[in-house]
């Protein structure tokens, strides 16, 4: 989780990623963020986020992202 938060902080140093649960709904993340984020998650956690997982529910909070990573890691 720490590593994920670091990746997120790098994208937007001014956002409180620990607590924000509306990253998509409030337009905090945009499409370039999603592209960078998926690439970095793939690299850092040695997973391959498939297109089906790239949905708003998985990107609205750090917690949701973390749960997705865990899920992908189990496969």
């Amino acid at each position: 989780m720490e590593e994920l938060l670091d990746i997120l902080k790098d994208l937007h140093p001014d956002v409180d990623f620990e607590h924000c649960t509306t990253l998509i709904d409030d337009k905090i993340l945009d499409s370039i963020d999603i592209v960078s984020l998926v690439a970095e998650i793939n690299d850092a956690f040695d997973v391959a986020v498939p297109a089906e997982e790239i949905v708003p529910e998985n990107f609205n909070s750090a917690q949701a992202l973390w749960e997705m990573i865990q899920r992908l890691d189990e496969v």
Binding site: D10, L11, H12, P13, D14, I24, K27, L29, D30, S31, I32, I34, V35, S36, V38, P50, A51, E52, I54, V55, P56, F59
Partner: protein, 499 residues
Amino acid sequence: MQRNVLEYLEATAPRLPDKVAFSNGTDSLTFGQLSRSARGIGTWLAGQGLSHEPVVVFMEKHPHSIAAFFGVVYSGCFYVPIDEEMPAYRVELIFQTLKPRAVLCDEKTRSQVEAMGYDGILCNYEAAAATEPDDGVLAAIRAAQLDTDPLYIVFTSGSTGVPKGVVACHRSVIDYIEQLSATLGFSEETVFGNQTPLYFDACLKELYPTLKFGATTYLIPKSLFMFPIKLVDYLNEHKINTVCWVVSALTMISGFRVLEKQVPEYLHTIAFGSEVFPIRQFQLWRKALPNAKFTNLYGPTEATGMSCFYHVDRDFEADEVIPIGQPFPNTGILLLTEDNKLAAPGELGEICIKGTCLTMGYYRMPEKTAECFVQNPLNDAYPELIYRTGDLGRYNERGELVFVSRKDFQIKHMGHRIELQEIEVVAAMHPEVAQACATYDKEKDKIHLYYTGGAESGELSAFLKEKLPRYMLPNRMERLERMPLTPNGKVDRKALAAK
């Protein structure tokens, strides 16, 4: 001879009154409704005594904002679209240049305009559109209009920190729409999926051919460009067959390997531009849609949309670049070397454009206009303007024009044209930033900002968000103890870019 873009609408609306012209998937305007609303707005604006002046359309991206554009044109004024997500600071800069006497807004944006302390005429779309059209008034306005009257102003990044307003007239837009439509083969059957924002010239590609042919345009919600499967679903649901997108929107789909699972099955015409298309991504598209027509477009805002096209007719190796091809008919390209001679085949030169496509220059910026719109140096016999794009290109061995690089620090990032110095100027406004330098990593399509001074990156990031549009925000920021300098004391951009 056609003199006004509204003639497109006036030919189509009586023929196809109930066909949907513009839709976002939820709300739609038919050609009949579009015509009625636009004439209502035109009548209302004319009633306010407005004529031959900029009217700001400060609205959410919606079919209504398009009706507002045409309403402004009916009044004999020219429209200036403003992005509702643009930071107030930037909107204020634009208002200082325009000094607009009237602004059209919607429920959502009204408070934003009021918060700026704007004291001119402010009217909600709904109220203006509900006005009973006065055909006599509108006909009198039209009779007095010239095809050289301005149609719109769109604002683009300026290196001094002040955005530049590019003014285009009816004639250059009509010329562009005619040439583009013939080149891409638009028709009444065309269903456009619009991706680009309405506050740039890029949306001309959908707006005016829709009027001309009685086609339909879907304004695709911006949020879908984050979620590729939903995006392809949307394209299929609305049977979208034609897209003119920036490359990064197309690679969003191919890059996440969506095309292996799901193909936009109605798509047969794909135009792209503003950026280099990575060949591997391009091949994924061609493989998924082997029968579709792919066209690379190139052109600066100052020459009204696009100036050159290349229909992809062969395969490319991973290290090759897709050419920008040849100019549209009735557009002239001069490739000029540094000493203002025509570049020899294969030689590098600045791409310069001439013809009806040239816009009228930058609004209230005569010096800047005179710098870029200049007398053709190859012609000393009569006045003939060319626009110096600042883009460097060359002809390949097949005689196709190829874009090579920029002369200055202008970049294309996610399809947006940005002057890196504008980011630096704004960053340096922060009280605790001493020096700032922005660089662009082309390979990763990322903007990096290096700065000196005491500001925390979080603070600076929040500061920039208040002043710059989203697409200009640096993707990475780094504080340095000191800026690397070249031997003659300038910031060493190369050293920073290599970091």
